[in-house]
């Protein structure tokens, strides 16, 4: 990688310059997993945790006491126990309204909060979670970003300069804004939103020195993107992009889960735990069937009763194929928009976890008529590309010739008479871009004007996505048709639209009131950010305290259960010592110092260790008597 970066950039330059790295990171905020990567010595690298895993499951658990848990523990343990309070695949809710498909699904483990607008409200989606809290998708995403930020700050031993966060190329304006705001809420300086296929192409182009026209096929957990790019002399020019921001591995899981449920009798599909278990089982079966031809899994669909679910690869492929077929129309349109024939592509790049499935690979190979490229790990390639872009933006050396030219994925327009959408900026226009439109008043002394901004390809406004409603105010009173209002659309390099307006005859800037149709207003986001700054330190302390309290309670309960279970293994002195330590933990738990709780837990550990060891030995002698004892022993002995 370092060599490739060199040759494209400054051939004569010394390697030493690269050692001086920037403090900017690339973040892949994925539906299923998220990653953070940096460029180190000219080479993009995903940052891993102590266990060597770079991927953070995009799952956030909200506990009743205010603690927030992100990642594997939330996905593997808490999601099954607290399905409603453990949010996964939040990306599919970003910038979406309460009436969107995702929030009105039947097979969902979540509960949505009423925002005071009633069931028909058009407001932002809010998840009702433990502790009576309602959190927006933006806030949930910010929790994931905070974890990635902490990981990067630890690796770089200090604060970050900024971050590039990737988004599906097909994300609309509302989804992009929500993502950028989530970054800000997580305390990140968002240098750029980068389209995921473009990020992948950047990683490939610089590493493999690829030249020519490429298709990027990106099928992730929740979104599908296809981008056609021309790579030439360091210029990455997106010719067209297409996709479906609600199509991905999750939909495969859902198709499988529905079939599994239909096959199994006497199951309560309205129970969120059952839904969570079946969706998890579907995902596990799907993953196993990537390499195996048949798979089985035990699932607790009713209390204390395990059901074995079996699936063969053929059965799964039959279930998934109709969903996969939904990729075909966007592919066709992207190719037509780029004016490229299938046979003229230099390569097809695979991105996203779902492209590991043999069925998906066959589909891509058949559709494009060539074997796709997967040399770079499809789970990491987007984060690596984002890291390169972040390094570039932060002024890292060796990128002088590199230029990314990306496009608007969906046309932007205004509602006109009869509910028709008039396009001002067409899809696949290179960003940044702008357009101007003149309006006039149609009534005498009219001082205001309503505008409705929409995004989409359909003719009718009702079939496009509503982005915002604007009211232009303060137009000086004039006869009808005399006012000259110039409205300017400007799409920046993040693909985000800004609107401004001016009355031309008087030169007066018209006041604009923005009411995002499916998002939070700037004021609401500002308030969230200010609140989070004001409480940042308190938050950290409160979280640590809450976590320690949970742990303390668990340990006290486990220790008491063990003492009741095996009193004969304790002598009087030892029992008194453990009781004292237990009292210490309980007292510390009721205080507000998380250090004190930690300390008290260590004292208890120390005091109960000989007892725990004796219990473990006896259990081994007698043979394993059951899972309960194992669990308790693991808790006591594992400290």
């Amino acid at each position: 990688m370092a060599e490739a970066l060199f040759q494209i950039a400054e051939p004569g330059e010394s390697r030493a310059k690269h050692a001086c790295r920037t403090r900017a990171v690339g973040i892949d905020l994925g539906t299923t997993n998220s990653l953070v990567a940096i460029v180190d010595a000219g080479r993009p690298t995903a940052l891993a945790d102590e266990q060597g895993s770079a991927m953070v499951p995009s799952v956030v658990h909200y506990a009743g006491d205010g603690a927030v848990v992100v990642g594997e523990d939330a996905r593997d343990r808490l999601a099954a126990e607290f399905p409603r309070d453990t949010i996964g695949s939040v990306k599919r809710f970003m910038g979406r309204g309460r009436r969107d498909a995702e929030a009105t699904r039947k097979l969902t483990p979540y509960r949505f909060a009423d925002d005071g607008q009633g069931a028909s409200g058009e407001g932002v989606v809010r998840f009702a979670v433990a502790g009576g809290r309602a959190v927006t998708p933006l806030e949930v995403s910010a929790e994931i970003l905070r974890v990635l930020r902490a990981r990067a700050e630890e690796a770089l031993a200090g604060p970050l300069q900024g971050a590039v966060i990737t988004v599906p190329a097909y994300f609309d304006d509302g989804q992009r804004q929500a993502t950028r705001d989530a970054g800000r809420l997580a305390g990140l300086e968002v240098l750029r939103l980068l389209n995921e296929p473009t990020a992948a192409a950047l990683a490939y182009g610089l590493d493999k020195q690829a030249e020519g026209t490429f298709a990027v096929f990106d099928l992730g957990g929740g979104t599908f993107d296809v981008s056609i790019l021309k790579l030439e002399e360091g210029v990455f020019e997106v010719k067209s992009t297409g996709g479906d921001s609600a199509l991905g591995g999750d939909d495969f899981d859902r198709a499988i889960a529905e079939a599994l449920l239909a096959r199994t009798s006497g199951v309560d599909a309205s129970d969120p735990r059952v839904v969570r278990h079946v969706l998890d089982a579907a995902r596990a079966l799907k993953e196993t069937l990537t390499t195996e031809t048949e798979a089985a899994i035990d699932v607790a669909l009713a209390p204390g009763q395990a059901t074995k679910l079996r699936l063969t690869r053929d059965e799964m492929e039959a279930l998934v194929a109709p969903v996969l077929q939904r990729c075909a129309p966007p592919l066709k349109r992207a190719m037509a928009d780029a004016r490229v024939e299938r046979g003229h592509l230099s390569g097809v790049i695979l991105v996203g976890g779902a492209t590991r499935m043999p069925l998906v690979r066959r589909f891509v190979e058949e559709w494009f008529g060539q074997k796709p490229l997967a040399d770079i790990d499809p789970d990491e390639v987007v984060a690596l590309g984002a890291a390169i872009q972040a390094d570039m933006l932060a002024g890292g050396a060796g990128h002088d010739d590199v230029l990314l030219l990306d496009v608007v994925p969906l046309s932007l327009g205004l509602e006109t008479m009869g509910g028709v959408a008039e396009k001002l900026i067409h899809r696949n226009t290179t960003v940044p871009c702008g357009a101007k439109q003149e309006f006039t008043t149609f009534a005498d002394k009219q001082t205001g004007f309503d505008l409705h901004v929409v995004q989409g390809e359909r003719e009718l406004v009702a079939e496009c996505r509503s982005l915002a409603r604007f009211t232009l105010k303060g137009i000086p009173p004039m006869p009808a048709g005399m006012a000259r209002l110039e409205v300017t659309f400007m799409v920046d390099a993040d693909g985000i639209l800004r609107v401004s307006a001016r009355e031309e005859t008087t030169g007066k800037e018209a006041a604009i009131e923005v009411k995002p149709s499916y998002g939070l207003t700037d004021d609401e986001v500002e308030k969230m950010i200010l609140d989070s700054f004001a409480h940042a330190e308190d938050d950290v302390k409160a979280r640590l305290l809450a976590e320690q309290r949970v742990e303390a309670n668990g340990i006290v309960a486990a220790a008491r259960a063990a003492m009741r279970d095996a009193p004969e293994l304790l002598d009087v002195g030892e029992r008194a010592e453990i009781e004292r330590a237990l009292g210490g933990v309980e007292a510390a738990r009721d205080g507000s110092d998380h250090h004190a709780i930690r300390l008290a837990i260590e004292v208890l550990d120390h005091a109960s260790k000989p007892f725990a060891t004796r219990r473990m030995n006896r259990a081994l002698e007698q043979g394993f008597r059951g899972r309960d004892v194992d669990a308790v022993d693991a808790k006591l002995g594992g400290r």
Partner: protein
């Protein structure tokens, strides 16, 4: 122009001649001049693309991500103008429209005014006989669509593509003569071309829908 950064004469280029700070663009600048091309229909597209990429490397927001807010704003508006210039010039229809606008010939606002039912103002309109012919063609296309006759639709689209190509050639030749009457003739041809293009779009859409079982949505 006085440089926003050093308050000295900035000169004509994107960067200040004195201090190198990126200057905001002249909003009234000619789009051909933005790319350093002569204002004519027959342009050297390869030279245009090379100029576009060179200038993009200099002014793109990616180069100014961590710069002073004023330089960032200049970068954004410079790049918007540059992208608009290249988008206008690389496409023959948009290039022709722009050349006519420059010459003061109004071929109709491209967008009607939202919120009003004001019709498009077309100074150079299409003759009624031409409009009748297009209407008949549209009816024929609609009939083929109802009958699911993809062969007929493909044939009609191909015929219309031929007419569009001829039309484009005539427009190009007329535009570069610089003679007023020829320019007006090119403008009328361009109005006709818009009808051809709309027809081709409609026909390709019908074809895709009939072939794909209505999949494209």
């Amino acid at each position: 122009m006085i440089c926003w950064s050093c308050q000295k004469q900035a000169g004509a280029g994107p960067l200040c001649a004195a201090c190198g700070a990126l200057q905001p663009p002249d909003d009234a600048a000619d789009l051909f001049a933005v790319l350093g091309l002569p204002a004519r229909f027959a342009v050297d597209l390869a030279a245009g693309e090379a100029a576009y990429k060179d200038l993009s490397r200099q002014v793109h927001p990616d180069r100014y991500a961590t710069a002073d807010p004023r330089a960032r704003r200049a970068s954004l508006s410079r790049t918007v103008q540059l992208n608009q210039a290249w988008r206008t010039i690389k496409d023959p229809v948009r290039r022709a429209e722009y050349l006519l606008t420059r010459a003061g010939i109004d071929i109709g606002g491209k967008q009607p005014t939202p919120g009003s039912d004001e019709k498009r103002t077309v100074e150079v309109g299409a003759p009624p006989a031409f409009l009748m012919e297009i209407l008949e063609q549209n009816d024929e296309l609609a009939a083929a669509r109802r009958a699911g006759d993809t062969v007929k639709i493909a044939f009609m689209a191909e015929e219309m593509r031929g007419r569009a190509r001829e039309s484009m050639k005539a427009i190009g030749a007329g535009l570069d003569t610089g003679v007023r009457a020829q320019l007006e003739e090119a403008a009328r041809e361009l109005v006709a071309l818009r009808y051809y293009q709309r027809f081709i779009e409609q026909a390709s859409g019908d074809e895709a829908k009939l072939e794909g079982g209505g999949g494209a949505g």
